[in-house]
Subunit: 263 residues, 2 copies
DNA sequence: AAGTGGTCTAGACCACTTT
DNA sequence: AAGTGGTCTAGACCACTTC
């Protein structure tokens, strides 16, 4: 009935019956739906469909890739599970964006011990361009000495400073980033990165430990020197597992805690 | 062709064609595969299939529940995603267990800053039965004053004490738990709970903060009083989201860190 | 009414494991 | 060879949204 999708690595021609094979004899072979998933991911990465936009329907994609709707469906199921897209019944499938309430708490895990989480107030302390320190260069997959943008800021809740953040971003990707744009932008920083610089954070790894506040830090957070703080070192990745942000946060956890779920 | 599964809430009789409906007019209705999933979960919970054992094949389950294999498959897909079962191609589907290398790191997130994770050595400091403090009773969904088992222990890596744990367990569920059984048991504590007491931890929530070591804690961990420590408060749940463990860990994070992934 | 994702079925073939 | 989970297809109907 159907014709084998010639641009994919599978079955050159299909045997009798309806189903068709899922592996050829090529050096690389993966299930069809994985290949479809990779193709869709490529389109997301290239900006063919931008954050917040509607992607083609399952039927359209099935026609485009010459596979069944069920196969496209399984590909999108996985993309949805990885938070790259969001399905909405009756409407369609949308490219995920950081400009949504539900997406916020994936990357900001600090919660007040009691009551509802409040929006953070940001105070930018410093933005400058510098040569990547060896450690940052290693984590960002850059050469030591490559240009990076350094940001230092304090986040407050209800007027009380709680988080001191330091960020390092690849200079090439975030060329026009200035203090003004950071300050005037409302909403989460990842929303700014996504909208203004076309870089979307997909996942991150964190290393958490307890440290003591030194003099400088204590001053910025309004605590006594030596106060125990949560140190959160984060590396964020975009499409293709490319590292695009190194962040070091110091959290004052007297009345807040880092919330984590072990699934 | 097929007959509607009368023990499920859906379609009393099925219309022409192959597919059949997914919602009735009953007060409660959920997709068929969710109902199947609930039935399988109940069998896991009741011990019909024990940890490590093989559960019936998809074909058998489809016959038992009078649904298609595809529907059983979708139910098991979700159970697999939730780590309740493990699929092995060609062999079958097995009930998940804590006695596996892969399951360890889901609940022990402390890693050495460099090198491979080592097995922990446990030193049990105290095991006693007491009346649940108000906070513990609240978290375990018990009445204040109900009997709980309290455990205090130190975990070391390469002979260096790193973790001080305090645990509270419902007395009813862990009747025969003694210091001896804790000490003589090899492997992870959740393995003991699962094998000896039939209580399997499914998921947990954690609240993490930084605190200073007091005199008693400092002595047990061999650090100076006032040293910043990671405080990890965990509540673990078994089937049916029933809380069955409260744990408070203090981690010395000078050469270790808590590893977390943000998906 | 038309289009979208969500559910369910039936059947085919594949890859892997055991007998 | 037989049994298991894994992939793929085709088609039906449902729930929801928009026109």
């Amino acid at each position: 009935m159907s014709v084998a999708p010639s641009h994919l690595t599978n079955s050159p021609v299909l045997a009798a019956g309806t189903g068709h094979s899922s592996s050829g004899s090529s050096p690389t072979f993966s299930p069809l739906y994985q290949q479809i998933k990779a193709l869709i991911t490529r389109s997301l990465q290239s900006g063919e469909w931008k954050p917040g936009e509607l992607i083609p329907s399952e039927v359209e994609l099935a026609a485009r890739y010459k596979v069944s709707q069920g196969t496209v469906r399984k590909a999108i199921d996985e993309l949805s599970a990885e938070n790259l897209v969001v399905r909405r019944q009756g409407k369609g499938t949308f490219v995920a964006t950081h400009h949504e309430a539900r997406a916020q708490f994936r990357f900001l895990r600090l919660m007040p011990d009691t009551g509802e989480p409040h929006p953070a107030e940001n105070r930018v302390i410093e933005v400058k361009r510098l040569r990547a320190p060896a450690e940052v260069a290693r984590l960002l997959d850059l050469r030591a000495g490559d240009s990076v943008i350094f940001i230092k800021r304090v986040q407050s809740f209800d007027g009380v400073p709680i988080i001191l953040d330091e960020l390092w971003l690849p200079g090439l990707l975030f060329k026009g980033l200035t203090t003004e744009r950071l300050v005037e932008y409302k909403g989460p920083m990842y929303g700014l990165f996504e909208t203004e610089f076309g870089t979307r954070m997909i996942r991150a790894t964190e290393r958490i430990r307890a440290v003591a506040a030194d003099e400088a830090v204590a001053g910025l957070l309004g605590v006594a020197s030596g106060t125990p703080l949560l140190s959160v070192e984060r590396v964020s990745y975009t499409y293709g597992d490319k590292p695009v942000e190194v962040r070091r946060g110091l959290y004052h956890t007297e009345n807040h805690h880092y919330q984590n779920e072990l699934g």
